[in-house]
Every structure is written in structure tokens, then in C-alpha cells.
């Protein structure tokens, strides 16, 4: 059955040991193998996802009733700060790039490793050191500033360990920077012979765009957080208006990083989706080049729109108008991607495996998240919606509905490659459906809540909002089941799963030409690329059927 042509010759069957053959703790903690580092990240971010999830579970329980009956206001403030900080910096930002990207980028390029393997390991240690500091701050009383650390509250008035928390984010940030640098250099310098830029898988393009943001935006956040910490420690700084400083300057600097960071939290997910949709529609990605360019366009435009977080902050109205216009422009490359994925599915030979269910979930939820972003980019509407649950729902549709769906889809898609085992199909499909259903039940009511005027970050609310809040909390419990299921059956598959073989999906990328799990050096014979990506042949499959 020939239904696809891989980009290079299949590797000979593996005779030596695979990359997992060593079991000692030392072999893990001192590894420079990009695949093992990817797995170190996988285990760590799963832990942080659970911690961030516990925080939000407590929040959703509190929000079941309009009164504040579980927590004091200050505790609730600490919970949403903990949820935000952990989920953004210690789960979402490293999710697809550091786990799947680390594992896959060198293999997709036909390389033995990333360009700087020891720096790659250092990035994980920096990430863990930053996380340890942030967790220390949480355990020793927490921080109540919100994940945005707005001044002068964070630098002057807030209680709790703001300095430890921001230094944790600072250190982890340098882990991100190193990963980004490594990916850029690897993509430029370690491509296999024949692998020209327009033969790269779209996942690589999206990682490349993400890396540019990681390298150029993260340092701005880093120094800004240093300034906050100094201001808090010494009482002197450039953000506190009481001593002549400018609090808006903080917001400009923070969002100059954090808006591009939002695209760190979606671009890699788009790359994953491109891979999955092409494979399970058995078709070339429609408009490959445009989808590739769109990733770069999103990364570049992402640097020019930060002011849309500040429409009601006393920023000048002209600046607001320009930022509004530029924000609308981002929708163009994003929509191009959505239309091209749809066109890829059109008349494809759809194969409903779990990764495709996740990718379709991504497509629907990202579209809703993207379109509601247009409401928020409109100046006048934003004045009404600022700081309401509408904003919360919007960015969760992108970050959770989009990125987490894509991350899980990618994890399922490449799980056979990473572990050599197949996960059980039925529970996996069930989890995808639970997550999709639970997600919509959780967050769609929040659009309505926000439109009706319920502000975010409050745990005591007007009684007429209770029904929708109960719906949202009920959805969250379904969502939680959906997230716990994969944890169970993926671990189960490590022991009991069937052997996957090198290419269970008959996919075309270089990573599928080698054994599962791959040998330490990835390829025993250096691959030579002879084909374009996504060389699927749906008609031949139809003939076989």
C-alpha cells in the first residue's frame, strides 16, 4: 500500500540500542540528547500544568456561588496569580516548542542534534531553577499581583514575594532565549542535503517564527522585571509616579514582550495543526508557501500591536487608533492559515484518528478565539469589554482551545515516535471529545458573562451571573476529566501499548523514516532529501480501499 512518499529513503531497521536504553538518573540529568531534553521538559511541564490546574479548580469552585464562601479576597487574588504565572511561563510557553520542538526539530531537519546541545541542557536547568523560585514564592505566601505584575502595585504596594516571583520568571526567560537561539541556528545550519527552506515541514517554519519572538521579546520582559524588583527592593525606580516615575512605561514594556509572547503560545500550535491535518487528510497542505509566510508575518506583526492591551490606560487616542488598525492586520495571516487548513481538508481522504480530532478542535476553537479578538481590537467595543470575562474567554479560546488542543494533538501524533508505542485509540478519542465539549461549556458562558459586564479577577459577583458561572464550573469539571484521561492511558501505553513501528501514520516527514523510538544519533545513515513535504496520494489510497 503506497499512500505517501517520505521526504527521504527509509532508514534500515535499527540494530543497536535506542535513545532510551540508559536508565540511570545521571544519564537523564546530564544528557545532551535533544530527545531526552524534550522528555525532561515533558515531565516538568506536566507537573506545572497540574499545579496550575489545581489553582483554577479552586477558583472555579469559589465561583459556583456569588458570595465569597471558600476563600478570602486576598487568597483568591493569589490563586489567579499562581494560575496565570504557572500556566503562561511554566506550561504554555515551553509546551510545544520545548517539548515537541526539542524532540522533533533536529529529526525533521535530518540532523543529529540541535546546534548547541550543552546550551540546550542548560536551558532546562534555567527553566527548572526559575520554576523552583516561583514555586518557593507561592509556598511562602504567594503573590497577588496577577500575572501581569502591573506597577506601581507590584513594585510598591503588593504583599507577598514579588521579587522572588519575578526573578523566577526572569531566570526561566533565559531558558526560553537559549531554546530560541538554538532553534534558529539549527534551522539555518543543520538541514540535511536537499532540504531547502521550501521543503521544510510547516512545523519547522512555525518554530522558526516562534524562536524569533523568543529571542527578541523575552529580554525586554527580563530587564523590565529586574526594574520592578529593584524598585521594590530600594524604593526608587522609573515606574512609581509618587517619585516621578511613569507606570504606563511599565505597561508598554510589559506588553512589548507579552503580546508577542501570546504568539509564542499559538504559532507552534499552528505548526502542529498543519502537520496533523495534512497527514490525516492525506493531502498536500493547500498553499504551503503562504502558510509558511503567514507564520513569519504573524511573528513580525506581533511586535507592532502591544498597545491594544492599553486602550483604556490613558495612552493617546491616536496611538490607540494605530494599534487598533495593526491588530486587525494580524487577522489576515491567521485567517489565511484557517482557510488553508480547511481547503486542505476539502476533498481529502479523511482518516479520523485522535490527532485529527484534536486538530479539528483546534480549528474550531481557534477560529472563535480569533474572531472575538477582532471585537477586542475595535477601540469602542474594547472600552466596554476591557477587564471583563469576555477577555478571559477570548484568550482561553486561543491559549487553551488553540494551543493546549494542538499540544495534545501533537503529543498523540508523535507519541509512537517518542515512545515506540501506540496509545489506545478509544480512550484517546473520548478524551478529545471531553476536552472539546468541556472547554466550550466552560468558556462560552464567559463570553456572555463578560458582555453582560461581569469583571474578571473578582470572586464575589452579582447574583444574576450565577447560572452562567455554574455552567462554566460544570464545564471545567468535564475539562478536568478530559485532561486526566491522557495521563492515564498514555502512561498505560508505555507498558501495554502495541509496538508502533517506524511510521504508523504513513506520514511523510524525515522523523518518520527512522526507528521508533529513534537511536541516539537519530539516523544511522545521513538522510538525503529528495521530495517536497506532504507527498500524500489520496487517490491511490482510494484505489487500494
Amino acid at each position: 500500500m503506497s499512500i505517501s512518499t517520505p521526504q527521504a529513503e527509509m532508514q534500515p531497521p535499527l540494530e543497536g540500542p535506542d535513545y532510551l536504553h540508559e536508565h540511570s538518573v545521571r544519564s537523564w540529568l546530564l544528557t545532551t540528547d535533544h530527545k531526552r531534553i524534550g522528555i525532561l521538559y515533558l515531565v516538568s511541564i506536566t507537573l506545572f500544568f497540574l499545579i496550575g490546574g489545581v489553582a483554577v479548580t479552586m477558583m472555579r469552585m469559589e465561583l459556583l456561588t456569588p458570595q465569597g464562601d471558600l476563600f478570602a479576597s486576598s487568597t483568591y487574588n493569589k490563586l489567579f496569580t499562581m494560575h496565570g504565572v504557572i500556566m503562561v511561563w511554566f506550561f504554555l510557553i515551553p509546551s510545544v516548542p520545548s517539548v515537541l520542538g526539542n524532540f522533533l526539530l533536529p529529526m525533521m531537519l535530518g540532523a543529529r542534534d540541535v546546534a548547541f546541545p550543552r546550551l540546550n541542557l542548560l536551558s532546562w536547568y534555567l527553566f527548572m531553577a526559575g520554576a523552583a523560585l516561583a514555586l518557593w514564592a507561592i509556598i511562602h505566601g504567594g503573590v497577588d499581583t496577577g500575572w501581569t505584575f502591573y506597577t506601581p502595585y507590584s513594585s510598591t504596594y503588593a504583599n507577598g514575594h514579588v521579587i522572588a516571583m519575578v526573578m523566577g520568571v526572569f531566570i526561566a526567560g533565559f531558558g526560553s532565549i537559549i531554546t530560541g537561539l538554538n532553534f534558529i541556528v539549527t534551522t539555518h545550519k543543520l538541514r540535511a542535503p536537499g532540504l531547502i527552506w521550501f521543503r521544510l515541514p510547516l512545523f519547522v517554519w512555525s518554530l522558526y517564527a516562534t524562536s524569533i519572538i523568543l529571542v527578541l521579546a523575552t529580554p525586554v520582559l527580563a530587564i523590565t522585571l529586574v526594574l520592578v524588583a529593584l524598585e521594590r527592593a530600594f524604593g526608587i525606580g522609573i515606574f512609581n509616579p509618587a517619585i516621578g516615575g511613569d507606570p504606563l512605561l511599565f505597561q508598554h514594556l510589559f506588553w512589548f514582550y507579552s503580546h508577542p509572547a501570546v504568539y509564542i503560545m499559538i504559532l507552534p500550535g499552528m505548526g502542529v495543526t498543519s502537520e496533523i491535518i495534512a497527514c490525516f487528510a492525506r493531502k498536500q497542505v493547500f498553499g504551503y508557501r503562504i502558510v509558511a509566510y503567514a507564520s513569519i508575518a504573524i511573528a513580525v506583526l506581533g511586535f507592532l500591536v502591544w498597545g491594544h492591551h492599553m486602550f483604556v490606560s490613558s495612552q493617546s487616542i491616536y496611538a490607540g487608533m494605530i494599534f487598533s488598525l495593526l491588530s486587525f492586520l494580524v487577522s489576515i495571516p491567521s485567517a489565511i492559515k484557517v482557510f488553508n487548513w480547511t481547503a486542505t481538508l476539502y476533498r481529502g481522504s479523511i482518516w479520523f484518528q485522535t490527532p485529527l480530532l484534536y486538530a479539528l478542535g483546534f480549528l474550531g476553537l481557534f477560529t472563535i478565539g480569533g474572531l472575538t479578538g477582532l471585537f477586542l481590537a475595535a477601540l469602542a467595543v474594547d472600552v466596554h469589554l476591557t477587564d471583563t470575562y469576555f477577555v478571559v474567554a477570548h484568550f482561553h479560546y486561543i491559549m487553551v482551545g488553540g494551543m493546549v488542543m494542538a499540544y495534545l494533538g501533537g503529543l498523540h501524533f508523535w507519541w509512537p515516535k517518542i515512545t515506540g508505542k501506540l496509545y489506545p485509540e478509544w480512550p484517546a478519542k473520548l478524551s478529545a471529545l471531553f476536552i472539546f465539549g468541556g472547554f466550550n461549556l466552560t468558556f462560552f458562558p464567559q463570553f456572555i458573562l463578560g458582555y453582560l459586564g461581569m469583571p474578571r479577577r473578582y470572586h464575589i459577583y452579582a447574583p444574576e451571573f450565577q447560572t452562567l458561572n455554574v455552567l462554566s464550573s460544570a464545564g471545567a469539571s468535564i475539562l478536568a476529566v478530559g485532561y486526566l484521561l491522557p495521563l492515564v492511558y498514555l502512561l498505560w501505553s508505555l507498558r501495554y501499548g502495541r509496538d508502533a513501528g517506524p511510521n504508523p501514520w504513513q506520514a511523510t516527514g524525515l522523523e518518520w523514516t527512522t526507528a521508533s523510538p529513534p537511536p541516539e544519533e537519530n539516523f544511522t545513515i545521513a538522510p538525503v532529501v529528495t521530495e517536497d513535504p506532504y507527498n500524500y496520494h489520496p487517490t491511490e489510497e482510494a484505489a487500494d480501499a
Binding site: 540541535v114 522609573i238 512605561l249
Partner: protein, 216 residues
Amino acid sequence: MSHPSDSTAPPFTSFSQQREAATLGMWGFLGMEVLFFGPMFLGYIVFRINFPDAFMTASRHTLILAGGVNTALLLISSFTMALAVRSANLLEDSAKVVRSLLVTLLLGGAFVGIKCFEYSHEIHEGLLPGASFHLDGADPQQAQMFFYLYFLMTGMHLLHVIIGLGLIAVFILRAKLTVRKERFSIAMEQLGLYWHFVDLVWVFLFPLIYLGGRAA
């Protein structure tokens, strides 16, 4: 010509590939550094526009002679660093590399010494932001903002200089000991780029801090 153990670092297969990758990585790192310094320069611009008079007055309290000498020292040290990189690239006798690096180390060390002298002078004059800050002839809050930015930016720059000096010391040892000259020359090139960047940051800091209030 090259020593048998002089091989590329994995995953590279040739020296030219390794050199290009390392150089690209360094330029990416320096791009990151520009954005790391960026917010501090932006802060300077904002408050320079907000408090022009106080910044002029405060600027005149800096030690221009010390700043000028330091500028010269760093510029010359960039030249000696360039000589070291050139010697390493030509795979010359390691003594030449060591000599150029030692001069660079001395010049950089002198920069640090003079900078520390300046700091102690300013602290003595009561120009360190904080409760005891005082400066005649300007709004104290606004002048304090100038000196906060002064200590912040030159301090961050000084940190980079000290890291650079540490690296130079390591490279002096490496140059003496290594037989892998090709690989060493690749690393030397990156050290050179870093040092020139540190120099370049100072070239921007000097006029902002020392020259502001002194025209006309």
C-alpha cells in the same frame, strides 16, 4: 597542519559549518542583548524629555575626564581584541594571542578601576539615589531619576565588562593550553564579537550621560 585532536564539536561535520553556526548564534545573542538594554535607554529618553533641566544639571555632576579616559580605554581594548581574534584566525603562535588578550584584560581592568573610583566619588558627594540623595540647583526628585538611570545603566554595562574580563582570563588559559587551534579560533571570534558589543554599548552611554549638560 592542524592537530589530530582538532575536530569539530558535535553535531557539526565541518569547521566552516561550526564557525558559521557559532557566529550566527552569537549575533542572535547580541540581538537579544540590544533588546535587553533597550528598555533602559527608552527609560532614559522618556525622563530626559520629561525632566530636561534636571537632567542637564545632574549630567554636569558626572566626572567627564574619568568617562572620557574610560571611553578611550575601551576603544583601544577593542583594537587589541581584534588583534587577538586575527592572530587566532591565522592559527598563529599562541603567544601572540595571549599577548593581545593580556593587554585587553589590562585595559578592561583599568576601565573597571576608574568606574569604581567614579562610583565612590559620587556616593561620597551624595549622588546615590536614596534617602541621603542631594544635589543643588535642580529638582531633587528629577535629578535623582538621572542618577538612578546612571547607576542602573552603567552598572549593567559594568556587569557585562566584568563578565567579559572573566571570559578573557579563561581564554588566556585556553590559548596557552589548547592544541585544537581551529576550534579555539572559532570561540575567539565569538569572544571578540561580545567584547566589541560591550564597547559599543559604552559608545552610546558616554554621550547620553556625560555630554548632555555640557554643550555650549
